[in-house]
């Protein structure tokens, strides 16, 4: 392929934060922009969509796709970019694992719609209208994309070559990844372009763990004034550090908040939530039934803690539907 390598940066069901990060690599971005030919980057510059379609298959060297897949648009764009790209990089937690919005997999589409367009306190909806994928207004045909029943991670709808987790991925890893592509120094396909180990490996508080880490009580972050230099688990505050890939730069730890897992599972682990359950159970200091119930009882919203960013790629993916919705 002649000329500079073509690069596409694109969002699907994302929040734009990932694109902001790319903008955040300020000066570096200029160098990159010199080195590559950005054929698509909605948040920062104009481009013509049909130009992408006009490209030869595989003509794009790299597509960095952020956001999850929630509707037909997302999937079509994802598939198009897959077709046109040699490499697809799942960029950010949403693309890699579904992200926070993946928690919507605990709800049905009906439930979502019912609240948003009917039950919410400020809704004024005398005709009981709901958005329609096709509707004709005064004879004019108006179309909306098809809204899927659940949230998908990128690799659940197209093949993904590399993963760069984080919410958003930190600039330094973005730069690393881009350089790796430009210099053709990429690890085997399917790799995650971040360190292999768990957050504890780089967390400054890890040293403060006592010889035997035992959780007698579970505290919620608003209930305690967390010691700024002690392991959160030691303080009984749930921290997903042990089960979460490092590389984020401990940004949350640094402002004295525990890890919620935006970097997803460590190398070789599929469902970090499940793994954390096993780990947590081991360090819960509770032998009799009462203590277990007490501790587990304190773990309000276990699934929200353990799968904050990764529900769609968890082993069970989403809430079962063969049970009645509480509406």
């Amino acid at each position: 392929m002649a000329g500079k390598p073509k690069v596409a940066i694109c969002w699907l069901g994302g929040c734009g934060g990932c694109d902001e990060t790319v903008v955040d690599i300020n000066e570096v971005i200029l160098r990159i922009v010199d080195a590559v030919d950005i054929v698509l980057w909605p948040v920062a510059m104009d481009f013509k969509y049909h130009q992408i379609e006009a490209l030869k298959d595989g003509e794009i060297a790299l597509s960095m796709i952020n956001g999850n897949v929630r509707n037909t648009d997302h999937e079509e764009v994802a598939s198009l970019l897959r077709r046109k790209s040699q490499l697809v990089l799942a960029f950010g937690a949403c693309a890699c694992f579904g992200g926070t919005p993946g928690l919507a997999n605990l709800r049905t589409k009906e439930d979502l719609f019912k609240w948003v367009y009917h039950d919410a306190p400020t809704v004024v909806n005398p005709h009981g209208s709901y958005p329609q994928s096709r509707v004709s207004v005064d004879g004019h045909e108006l179309v909306l994309p098809e809204f899927y029943e659940q949230v998908f991670a990128l690799n659940q709808v197209i093949d993904v070559d590399y993963y760069l987790p984080g919410c958003p991925p930190p600039p330094d890893l973005v730069v690393k990844a881009l350089n790796a592509v430009l210099e053709g120094k990429l690890p085997p396909r399917g790799s995650t372009l971040a360190p292999h180990k768990a957050l504890c490996d780089t967390c400054s508080r890890n040293k403060t763990k006592p010889n035997r880490l035992a959780i007698q009580d579970i505290k919620r972050i608003h209930e305690v004034e967390a010691k700024p230099d002690t392991c959160f688990l030691v303080q009984g505050i749930l921290c997903l550090g042990p089960a979460t890939r490092t590389g984020c730069g401990e940004t949350c730890i640094n402002i004295n908040l525990p890890c919620r897992g935006c970097f997803g599972p460590v190398e070789g682990v599929v469902d970090s939530g499940a793994k954390f359950v096993s780990a947590l159970a081991s360090i819960m200091d509770a032998e009799n039934e009462k203590d277990v119930e007490r501790l587990v009882g304190k773990m309000d919203d276990a699934i929200g803690y353990l799968y904050r960013f990764s529900l769609p790629t968890s082993i069970l993916r989403k809430k079962r539907h063969n049970e009645v919705e509480e509406l």
Binding site: F147, Q150, A286, E287, A302, R320
Partner: protein, 143 residues
């Protein structure tokens, strides 16, 4: 779903259950039975995978309190089960579908019974469908 026979997976601790009966004989009586050296060796991953694979229930048989050959493996298992029950409920899987019993039965005669009892409970809850990796549904709902 009236005629469905629930599929149960049963893990049991070797030190507490059926060690006096030949394994072949028992596994003929108990479907999807996996004896393990210690109930504490059962990972949450295993249990979730069981449900993913379409199990309607998972039964864990550990040895009695204080009897664990490895000190507290049965307690570990119980803690995991209680935690998982919470998570399963969020997934829409009733907690009754995951059960742990800490007791002892060297001959293992009770295992088939316990499995039966649990399947009866699970049967009432209906079947769980296999988790498919890709399930699209119809377009925007009608109000």
């Amino acid at each position: 779903m009236t005629h469905h026979e629930p599929k149960l997976v049963c893990f049991s601790c070797r030190f507490g259950w059926g060690y006096l009966t030949d394994e072949e004989t028992l596994s003929r009586q108990i479907k999807n039975w996996v004896p393990v050296i210690c109930s504490g060796k059962i990972d949450a991953i295993h249990i979730l995978n069981a449900f993913k694979q379409g199990a309607d229930g998972v039964l864990i048989l550990g040895c009695p309190e204080g009897d664990c050959h490895y000190q507290d493996g049965n307690f570990e298992a119980r803690k995991r089960v209680y935690l998982l029950q919470r998570i399963l409920e969020s997934y829409g899987i009733e907690k009754a579908r995951l059960k742990i019993e800490l007791s002892v039965d060297p001959e293992g005669k009770r295992i088939p019974q316990l499995v039966k009892e649990m399947s009866d409970v699970v049967k009432k809850l209906g079947p769980l469908t296999k988790t498919k990796d890709r399930t699209k549904t119809a377009s925007a709902v009608q109000g």
